[in-house]
């Protein structure tokens, strides 16, 4: 590969990133930060691969809870107690409230969850989280 060709490739890449929409860059940032937050706060129980742990902790992958953003925000904020049904199985293990997470963290976390295991590739904004009224 000639020097010139290599350089033009680098330039092309630079242009490509520059041209990527601001929104897309922000989305990518949210997904990356969200992945870190997931690893730190959620993966112990739900697993790095989102598959949960046997019949003890429910999977995130394939869970219908991902479809209800408001409910998800409240579960993350307040934790969850009592039996729930996920993907046809009953789980009954207490989930603690993620007290250390700010609205931005939760927005990034849910953006990541949806990106990785949900169907929506849409960003969840801080306002989407802050606006949810939980009991």
């Amino acid at each position: 590969m000639s020097f010139c060709f290599k350089n033009s490739l680098v330039l092309l890449c630079l242009f490509a990133t520059a041209c990527a929409s601001e929104e897309k860059v922000k989305y990518e940032q949210y997904v990356i930060s969200g992945a870190e937050i997931y690893k730190k706060n959620c993966s112990n129980c739900h697993g790095l691969d989102g598959s949960g742990l046997r019949n003890l902790y429910p999977p995130i992958k394939g869970s219908t809870y991902l479809q209800d953003k408001n409910k998800l925000v409240c579960i993350i904020k307040n934790g969850l107690e009592g039996p729930i049904n996920v993907a046809g199985k009953t789980y009954n293990q207490k989930m603690p409230a993620a007290k250390g997470l700010y609205d931005l963290d939760i927005a990034q976390l849910i953006t990541f969850l949806n990106d990785k295991w949900g169907s929506s590739k849409k960003i969840v904004e801080v306002g989407d989280v802050a606006g949810v009224g939980c009991e």
């Binding site: 112990n44 129980c45 697993g47 742990l53 046997r54 019949n55 003890l56 293990q93 207490k94 603690p96």
Partner: protein
């Protein structure tokens, strides 16, 4: 001359490989060593114990007679390291399933919450359906004492440790041999450490 040196290298290699062979490896004895009146070494030993298992039955050291076993300390409502520990312990359980010479003993450090019923449900939900892996509860003091003094791992209640679920404990897996001596302590939250433990179990089982 050249052929000679290649030959020498081969000998060196085989020696090196032979000496590294896993079966020649020896596991250390962990803990204080004493010497008895006969002049023999006496190793740190797990004393007799008496707890209650997930079926409500009394469980003593007799359950592990003639077996090596792995001990750990956890609690069912633990939001931090316990699920990871259990994921790793499941690897060991699956690997040595139905091996009568290996047992697993998980102690709860939250006996007020982790009753017999809770432990039974927990065991079932983990998919553990043999007696090989026992979950025990008992007097909190007795559990903390055996953890700290005998298995030499930390386990205590700490109401300040809210994020950890109110308890502080180590994620250690303790490998105990047939003579109730400790032969290894491993971080049960790390896959690599548990790989090492699995190798050490295989080594102990050969003896």
């Amino acid at each position: 001359m050249k052929r000679f040196s290649i030959f020498g290298l081969l000998i060196f290699w085989s020696l090196a490989i032979w000496s590294c062979r896993d079966s020649n490896r020896k596991l250390p004895y962990i803990g204080q060593h004493d010497v008895n009146e006969k002049g023999d070494s006496v190793f740190h030993t797990i004393p007799d114990f008496k707890f209650v298992n997930q079926d409500g039955d009394t469980l003593t050291q007799e359950a592990f007679k003639g077996k090596i076993y792995i001990a750990d300390f956890f609690f069912t409502s633990c939001p931090t390291i316990c699920p990871v520990m259990k994921t790793q312990m499941l690897r060991i359980y699956e690997k040595f399933k139905d091996n009568p010479e290996l047992g697993i003993l998980s102690h709860t450090i939250d006996p007020r919450h982790d009753s017999v019923v809770v432990l039974k449900a927990y065991k079932e939900k983990l998919g553990v359906n043999t007696n090989q892996w026992q979950f025990v509860t008992g007097e909190q003091e007795k559990i903390y004492e055996i953890a700290q003094k005998s298995y030499m791992v930390s386990a205590m209640e700490d109401k300040e440790a809210v994020d950890e679920g109110g308890f502080v404990h180590s994620g250690a897996f303790v490998l105990v041999d047939k003579n109730r001596n400790i032969r290894g302590v491993y971080d049960g939250t790390k896959e690599k450490e548990v790989n090492r433990l699995i190798k050490d179990i295989e080594l102990l089982l050969q003896k």
